[in-house]
């Protein structure tokens, strides 16, 4: 089994085999796309996240696991500054965003792409205008917008929905359009918030294939939130084959070296490591979740 080269460096909350104890300083080494250091946040009650530290390296896909309501989406929204932590520090593309004014965050956010749980498409706009939202704000030429929107929709295999309104799309189609919207400016970081939540298995596989395609074709670093283990394992055990235009399983015993796991439980990050380390973890929450 391949050992993930990136997973040895990021903060091993529950040290896996061969990993040292937690070392937040290491996570701030140059070149990290995202780095959390001792981040805590609460909303009128007990903390939702407490003392969370991890990082995302270039080209790395991190899968954030955890039961429903544990704070996975909150962590995702902290990553691009949609929420601000009560304590701790968050670096995005090397810039401290936890105290950055909102006006300065907007240009930084345009370098990221985010896929929301239910797609969060704008009801009053067509699929074309939804996907081209950022380009329209930047006053890009209409012909170029059409070209780039069609390309993005072709990537998610929904070119025929160009003129449709979101209300006429199914749940799965909305997520795929949301992925196209997140990808259109070739972001430097992708954030997926439960992209397969509430979808049937076939549509879920289509979405996971798209995530994999983006990972293997464009090598965009990403953070994917899910509570579906099978999606996480599929991402780890398959690769996208551009020749065949679909995902294919990796040889027996191999996993994608750039896909690693994080796990949240009881407000804390209880695991940070590779698939191999995850399945051999002795942590009782990890074991319960896997079983």
């Amino acid at each position: 089994m391949n050992v993930n080269p990136a997973s040895a460096q990021p903060v091993p909350v529950e040290p896996g085999p061969g990993q040292s104890a937690q070392n937040p300083a290491a996570a701030f080494a140059a070149g990290q796309v995202v780095a959390f250091r001792n981040v805590s946040i609460a909303f009128d009650g007990p903390p939702v996240l407490e003392d969370v530290s991890f990082s995302i390296a270039p080209g790395e896909t991190r899968i954030l696991l955890g039961p429903a309501g544990v704070g996975k989406s909150v962590l995702l929204k902290l990553t691009n500054g949609l929420l601000r932590p009560d304590q701790g520090s968050i670096l995005l593309f090397g810039e401290e965003i936890s105290t950055m004014p909102e006006e300065k965050l907007f240009p930084l956010r345009t370098r990221t792409g985010m896929v929301f749980q239910e797609g969060a498409l704008f009801d009053s706009l067509t699929v074309r205008d939804n996907v081209a939202y950022q380009l329209i704000q930047e006053r890009v030429d209409d012909d170029e917008i059409d070209l780039r929107v069609r390309k993005a929709l072709r990537f998610v295999e929904l070119e025929e929905t160009f003129d449709y309104y979101p209300a006429s799309l199914s749940g799965g189609m909305k997520r795929r359009v949301a992925i196209a919207r997140a990808l259109i400016r070739q972001p430097e970081l992708l954030l997926y918030d439960s992209p397969t939540g509430g979808l049937d298995p076939v549509t879920s596989t289509t979405i996971i294939e798209l995530v994999m395609k983006q990972r293997d074709v464009y090598r965009t670093p990403s953070l994917l939130v899910t509570h579906r283990l099978q999606d996480a394992f599929t991402l780890c055990s398959h690769r996208f084959d551009p020749q065949q235009g679909r995902m294919v399983p990796l040889p027996q015993g191999e996993t994608d070296p750039n896909t690693t796991f994080l796990m949240l439980a009881e407000s804390r990050l209880i695991f940070d490591g590779s698939l191999q380390e995850l399945v051999h973890s002795e942590n009782k929450f990890v074991r319960e979740f896997l079983e």
Binding site: K77, F106, M114, F116, E118, A120, D123, Q134, Q137
Partner: protein, 275 residues
Amino acid sequence: MHGPSPRERRSPFSGKHMAIDTIDRTAKQLVLTIQDYSLFAARAFMNLFTEPRYWPEYLVQADIIGFGSLSIVVLSGLSTGGVLALQSAATLSAFGATAVTGQFVSLTMIRELGPVLTGVMVSGRNASSMASELGSMVVTEQIDAMRALGVDPMRKLVTPRIFASISMLFFLTIVADACGIAGGGLVTVFMNHQNGTQYLDMAWEHLRYPDIIQGLVKPLFFGYILSSIGCFYGMRTSGGTEGVGRSTIQAVVWASVIIIFVDFLLTQLLLSLFT
């Protein structure tokens, strides 16, 4: 979380303490809401003076608020003017002064009822639609999506609505004033069987610039109030579709109440300035 101690439970004053706690919590909540609203409204207004500005959104909102509210403003203006003429004629006839009906209707409409009525009618229609539209966008994460795409929802959604409300309420008030005077005239001529020329002469002759200024300053404030409150409650919606309903109710109630209260303050101020 700790409940009351056995001693507190037995105390005859425990109910009083609870009541004080509730008052304390409510007062803090109210102060916090006023603080949040003040910051929100100030920021939305200041956005008018800095880039980026979204003029197409302003035009869309001006059409929705201005042209969309025209029918209710015309109807309510006509009816109010008519009612004023009916009521005043009945009272004034006791003193043999029905000739001043025109003056009474025009001054009342222009100085007071035109702006207030238009403000309340437009807030019922548009503060509610702003709160529900923005509230729905909040609960479906569209506002977060907009922020994630690098666009400031305050500039894109709130500021154009505020600017459109201020400018359109100004013109709608003029329409309401004109319709009110026309409605009063129709009632005077066709129901009270008085002279129409006399009505119009009285309406025009006793009108002074301070009256017109009073009537046209008020809608600028009312437009700002109704739109900023509508957007404020919309943007702080929580709790799903039920929360959207709650925000809509709060927006309409507070916008109407504050318009009437601010009208009182403005009238005091403007009267002291012009007399």
